[in-house]
Symmetry: C2
Subunit: 347 residues, 2 copies
DNA sequence: TTGAAAGCGCTACCAC
DNA sequence: GTGGTAGCGCTTTCAA
């Protein structure tokens, strides 16, 4: 319908085809320029009231909707902020953050667009993103390298912001250091007198971005404090009951007196399996999760957890806006992940 | 940087500005047409190997990335499939579905884009979506009316698909009838001999899309079967422990012998509160949730639930593709939500 | 107050 | 094989 070239009937608005501003102009009996002035409320030029009305009426009658691509092609820029759509199921924490962010950017008159996963890694994906000529790009996780940043900037992105573990050359960075989560958990367990600490690492792919740093945080805290004889053991665990039961079955053999379980969901899964296997919690083994999800409060004993503070969407939106306004400014790098232990009954 | 009109130096590729195909052509010493042919592997025209190489090298050297807007403006169509980004935190079920769908559409060479919430309701939002001239639009939930569908189609969308409770004039419909969930739950509870059924309805806004039909499904099943003396009571509940405790405190006064709790999360919250208040489950009160989440298996007694079958992403992607290829075909309407009770220990 | 026209970056038709 | 060029829909000077 759309892509079939219209036959050369320049004076007619073929019914069934998408109306353009020229069609509106024709119907209103004015020029395309006037249509543009009226529809955009251009202040630099005054159009008579009757003309305005005619244009508006014509536009409504035709169901005219401006063509964003044509507009931004002409303007040379857009107000699109692009983020890759999350590929892994993302928890309520991050969902909320995303939602806030979209709202805040919307209020600053940006259009947020989540680009559906191409499955490729950051630097290749950057090319696809760059084709849309977004004014800013927000990239969670790692994966985008300096190459990707360069591609984006060369194609007109005025701001590239990464949300992840490390800074990337040329991009603003909201550093989310998940080792802090592991460190907090480990410090808590050590303070409770535990020294043989298991760390659950999800077997599911895609979660390494978070699980590796959390594990390293534990290692760092335990070995950094010169804990004599304290040990850390990595425990792969798939998110299903069978695997949890298997792990629980060999628990006593592991000789652990504490476990930090990646997040509350894995913690609950494991804790349930341990209890079913007759392991006393926190007597035999202390358990701590992370993310402070509601579900941690529902099982007994109540699950200790590491509460995570994310930046407010509004803050990030303002950072983006600032960066867009002044693309020459040096990249900001800000530490935004707060980790606080919420001690409950399981540790 | 981008929007500042370049001074009239037509023969120079100003450094720092975004490279265009003309810049590539200049550097390679060929015409823009040739660049286009080479970069798009146009089969209708044969370009000599040396020329191809020169073009590719020039493109790489400049970091050339084609301008999607210009391309689709010229082409008269795009392969963008647009969906509104979810505004409410969406569970693992739907996340997975979305992810599959994106993958499947990607494999069919569509680009999926989630449009950040404009906060407006469907029909107004439709205008904003239409500005992007997507080839197809996927709209979950209700909210989009025939008006919105018309706007989208008039602006070139070849397929509009709704995923929701009802069909919308002019759009394909994947009917997700959540009353089926309520009906399944109610039938189960009735079969277990329960007759005074509470139905938890989340106090959180935005969930009505699901909670109302689920409630109505229960009502329908209970009254439809001519259950003499069976009653259904609506129980608003906020997703926090205090509100759950309050509800539990007045539980005996309500005289209910069963409760269907919207979904597993609310069910677990309430079940925990009821147990803490000394209500025996399932003895005094049977509890059933929905969505078959992992967490329902962790608390004891294990939570009965209604398992929900969503269509596969691949199926939906194929529907979209078919609709795009043949926009004139009559709208498909398909029932896609399967609801099966998974009886466990709580009912 | 309004209109004519240039041009954003790209592709595809038609000449050479 | 390659180049010239029209034109997608829009905004915005510059003239009238």
């Amino acid at each position: 319908m759309v892509q079939i070239p219209k036959p050369p009937t320049p004076a007619s608005a073929a019914v069934g085809s998408v109306p353009t501003s020229a069609d509106v102009a024709r119907l209103a009996g004015v020029s395309r320029a006037t249509v543009s002035y009226v529809l955009n409320n251009t202040s630099a030029v005054r159009i008579s009231e009757p003309t305005r009305r005619r244009v508006h009426e014509a536009a409504k009658e035709l169901g005219y909707v401006p063509h964003a691509a044509a507009r931004s092609l002409r303007a040379g820029h857009s107000r699109m902020v692009l983020m890759p759509a999350p590929t892994i199921p993302v928890g309520p924490l991050y969902s909320q953050f995303l939602s806030d962010l979209q709202g805040a950017l919307g209020r600053l008159d940006y259009t947020v667009v989540q680009y559906g996963a191409v499955g490729t890694h950051g630097d290749e994906a950057a090319r696809a993103w760059a084709e849309l000529r977004p004014v800013a790009v927000l990239v969670p996780g790692s994966g985008l390298g300096p190459q990707g940043v360069a591609v984006l900037k060369r194609s007109g992105a005025r701001a590239v912001v990464t949300l992840g573990p490390e800074t990337v050359e040329g991009a603003h960075a909201l550093l989310m250091d998940h080792t802090a989560v592991g460190r907090a958990a480990a410090a808590h367990l050590r303070a409770r007198g535990r020294s043989r600490i298991g760390v659950v690492v999800p077997a599911e792919p895609g979660l390494e971005v978070f699980s590796r740093p959390r594990l390293h945080g534990v290692r760092h805290a335990v070995h950094g404090t010169g804990g004599t004889g304290a040990t850390v053991i990595e425990l792969p665990l798939a998110y299903d009951e069978d695997d949890a039961a298997r792990l629980a079955a060999r628990w006593r053999g592991l000789g652990l007196d504490a476990v930090f379980a990646y997040n509350d969901e894995y913690a609950m899964l494991l804790m349930r399996a341990l209890m079913d296997a007759g392991v006393d919690i926190p007597g035999d083994t202390a358990v701590i999760g992370a993310d402070d999800l509601m579900l941690g409060r529902l099982l007994r004993p109540r699950l200790s957890t590491v509460h995570i503070d994310l930046p407010s969407g509004r803050d990030l939106a303002e950072l983006v806006d600032r960066a867009v306004r002044d693309p020459a400014a040096p990249p900001e790098r800000r530490e935004v992940l707060g980790a606080t232990v919420v001690p409950r009954e399981s540790s």
